[in-house]
């Protein structure tokens, strides 16, 4: 009898622990991360493990970080960033990273109906992330208004250059225009013929001359790419 038979593959507790510990890779990791974002029961198992394992850090001695570090953080943090729009959309960008992505998303209720007659609800989201995570651009699509909200959240913008947003679908990259400067949410109205391409597509951002690519195809470096996910 093989050992595997003793431990069913679908033991969620074990899978949650493996995700929390960071033992998974490849498809298994992708699959588990998706479940942690969409399956609340599973997300709560992962969180249970996160809490237990985190107490392994209790015996680690604090070390004061260098004095100037917080100044760097402040300089990066304080250009204004309109978080409110994300709240209104009932979603929060996935900012936590491995394992704890579970804690994200959801929560439209809490920003409920007293704000406005109908709370816009995002149906598609994308996190457009550079390979080294030096750049993060969050996007959410609201079906009712056929609007894609895009925010450059993390990363330095190149002076005197623009960032252009692309919808990548069926092997083509279609320009969705240039992004507003850092700290502003860009609203992109999605024309009817592109709406069907969003599901299963991806978003990308590239470095372009001011005003965007003169040719209609990306001319500069592709800075970050991220798949569009259905909520």
């Amino acid at each position: 009898m093989s050992d595997e038979s003793i431990i069913p593959e679908d033991n969620d507790d074990v899978l949650a622990a493996e995700l929390s510990l960071g033992l998974l890779s490849g498809d298994a990791l992708t699959h588990a991360q998706r479940r942690a974002r969409t399956d609340l029961r599973f997300a709560s198992l992962v969180e249970d493990w996160d809490i237990h394992f985190s107490s392994l850090t209790e015996t680690i001695d604090p070390v004061a970080p260098p004095k100037g570090l917080f100044d760097k953080i402040k300089a990066q943090a304080y250009p204004e960033s309109p978080q409110r729009i994300w709240k209104k959309l009932g979603i929060l960008p996935a900012l936590i990273g491995a394992g704890a992505a579970a804690l994200v998303l959801i929560i439209a209720m809490q920003f409920g109906n007293y704000m406005q007659p109908t709370t816009p609800v995002a149906s598609l989201v994308a996190e457009v992330v550079a390979e080294d995570e030096s750049i993060i651009v969050a996007a959410a699509y609201v079906e009712d208004s056929q609007t894609l909200f895009v925010e450059w959240q993390v990363g330095d913008r190149i002076p005197d250059r623009d960032v252009e947003l692309w919808l990548v679908a069926d092997g083509d990259a279609i320009s969705l225009g240039v992004l507003s400067k850092e700290g502003k949410v860009t609203e992109v109205s999605i024309p009817a013929e592109l709406r069907n391409l969003l599901v299963g597509g991806a978003l990308a951002v590239s470095d372009e001359p001011l005003g965007g690519s003169p040719t209609g195809v990306a001319t500069g470096e592709v800075l970050a790419v991220g798949p569009i996910t259905t909520l």
Partner: protein
């Protein structure tokens, strides 16, 4: 003395982009988080980058995802710091193992700016002690050194599938113990 409630309060205010709360949270928690990140990365420059990234993420929306009640705030923050450090480790992992790399210590820097009551005594330590020592070491290695199944199989010199089975069994035992 900074209490759990103080830190919770600060996180909630950081979620509202309250700068004073952000500065308070940093003062109260950065040394602990830096200690954790250094423990994982064993590289000061990389640890500074990751610490900066953690606080940026908290400021830029991460703090809004904190839910009062489940995780204690320091456990929640420790999880974020550890996860970001492991992500960084995975991206820059050197060919050789990290065993034997001395942990940087700076005696000039004291932990004076962090006093957090450790309310729950680490139940997991007791439960790990019930496991075979090798397997407890494997779980700790995965959590604090970012060791994957492949790394652990190499360290304990067993086939990958054996390591996977060992560890899965250990995780089931752990779960049983933790739910007692």
């Amino acid at each position: 003395m900074t209490t759990r409630e103080d830190i919770e309060e600060m996180i909630h205010h950081v979620a509202l982009n309250d700068r004073a709360a952000f500065e308070g949270l940093y003062a109260a928690t950065s040394a602990k988080l830096f200690g954790i990140i250094l423990r994982v990365l064993k590289d000061r420059a990389a640890a500074e980058d990751v610490l900066q990234d953690v606080y940026m993420r908290l400021w830029k929306g991460g703090a809004q995802t904190f839910a009062t009640g489940r995780a204690s705030p320091i456990s929640w923050l420790a999880t974020i710091a550890r996860n970001r450090a492991i992500d960084r480790l995975r991206r820059t992992k050197p060919e050789s193992g990290l065993e034997g790399v001395a942990e940087p210590a700076d005696p000039a820097m004291g932990p004076e700016d962090l006093v957090v009551a450790s309310s729950e005594r680490a139940q997991i330590d007791g439960c790990l002690d019930e496991l075979n020592p090798d397997r407890a070491a494997a779980v700790r290695g995965a959590y604090l050194d970012g060791e994957t199944y492949a790394d652990l199989a190499a360290r304990f010199d067993v086939p990958l599938n054996t390591m996977r089975t060992w560890l899965r069994r250990s995780l089931i035992s752990l779960k049983d113990c933790l739910s007692r």
